[in-house]
Amino acid sequence: MNFKDYYMVLGIDPQANVKAVKAAYKKLAVKYHPDVSKHADAEAKFKEIGEAYAILSNAKKRAEYDEVRQHHLNRSQRHYAGQTGASGGQDWGQQESDQEFADFFNSIFGARHSGFDPNQQYQGRQTQPAKGQDVEIEFPMFLEETLVDTLKPVSFTLQQRDAHGHIVEHPKSLKVNIPAGVSNGQRIRLKGQGGPGQTKADNGDLYLTIRYAPHPLFDVDGRNLTIVVPVAPWEAVLGTKVTLPTLTGHIQLSIPANSQSGQRLRIKGKGLLSKKEQGDLFAVLKIVVPTVPDAASKPLWTELAEKNTFDPRASWSK
């Protein structure tokens, strides 16, 4: 275990009083709390802050820590001096100091129930319950799968401690019949499918959080879907019928004459399913101009430009 300077972790002076320690902890805890923060390393950072606070807010632990820290600083200085005097010096001081720190850390938190095990999921400072560990996993689903009851395999790994306190991984696989109409972010509880409980205690539960997989054509807005439909300028002006993909097949969509880019056409009941009803599909028109010059079309465009009095920027001159 590497030595950690808890004063640096909390960003405070080693002479800081208890009030300053608490204030620094609160400020950083709010910033990095895993339930609040969006920082990528929030969980690890919060654990480190928790360690620092647990030691520096307790006078006895802090005094012990200060001794170890001072020892570490003295060793580091001597090591640095040795290195500058004669190159190639070994890092004995660092190793010894780290061992002392590990001993100190374990004497405070205990080797088994540190609460700050980096391999453990965030559990804060809660004591280990007799009930088995709850497991939460993200569960990706394709939009199409949410329209009907779908039998899906679920695989995850349970982490347990053996009789010697070592973490042992147990892979587990189930098949779950996911009911139609599940929504993005919805949680499903599988009672008793988490970690095994101690002796007669209940097993933990397994929680699946449904996550819709991104779709190549459709965007999700609640129960509604949106699809962008490219149309040629003449299709937008004259109106047309297009074959539109839906989650369950294809339909014919009538695009009215004089449609505008960005216009939304509603197709009722072709969205996602919920317990109460089925959402709608919205087709958003996007007028697309040919990118490759077409010699045959150019005279027609020119004629149109000459004969048509339409001014798309008329509102600017008002």
Binding site: L174, K175, K191, P214
Partner: protein
């Protein structure tokens, strides 16, 4: 391989089940409901209340924040509400960006 069918019943928790799963007392549950940190989906009185699994997640989150940051429940209610609004806005921004990228493609 074990096969599990999810029934309607699996999606709901009684007050007792919610308290057991989140390791809180019924007195604390009443306090959380009073501060609108969690709102029963069904039922008039505590014995009849029904909670969703999302409610359970919300209770666990609230109790973790209370334990780690030592805030009052009214403050936690406000934090959770703002976090919820932040998530909704982020989802909305993501959706609009996605749609814009489709429009520009």
């Amino acid at each position: 391989m074990l096969q599990i069918n999810i029934s309607e019943q699996d999606c709901w928790l009684s007050s007792d089940e919610l308290c057991e799963c989140s390791e809180i007392s019924s007195a604390l549950l009443l306090e959380l409901v009073e501060h609108s940190i969690v709102i029963p989906q069904e039922g008039e009185v505590i014995e009849q209340w029904q909670f969703s699994i999302d409610n359970l997640h919300q209770v666990k989150k609230a109790t973790r924040i209370q334990r780690d940051l030592a805030l009052e429940w009214s403050g936690i209610g406000l934090i959770l509400q703002l976090l919820d609004e932040r998530d909704q806005l982020e989802n909305e921004v993501h959706r609009l960006k996605q749609q814009l990228s489709r429009f520009k493609a």
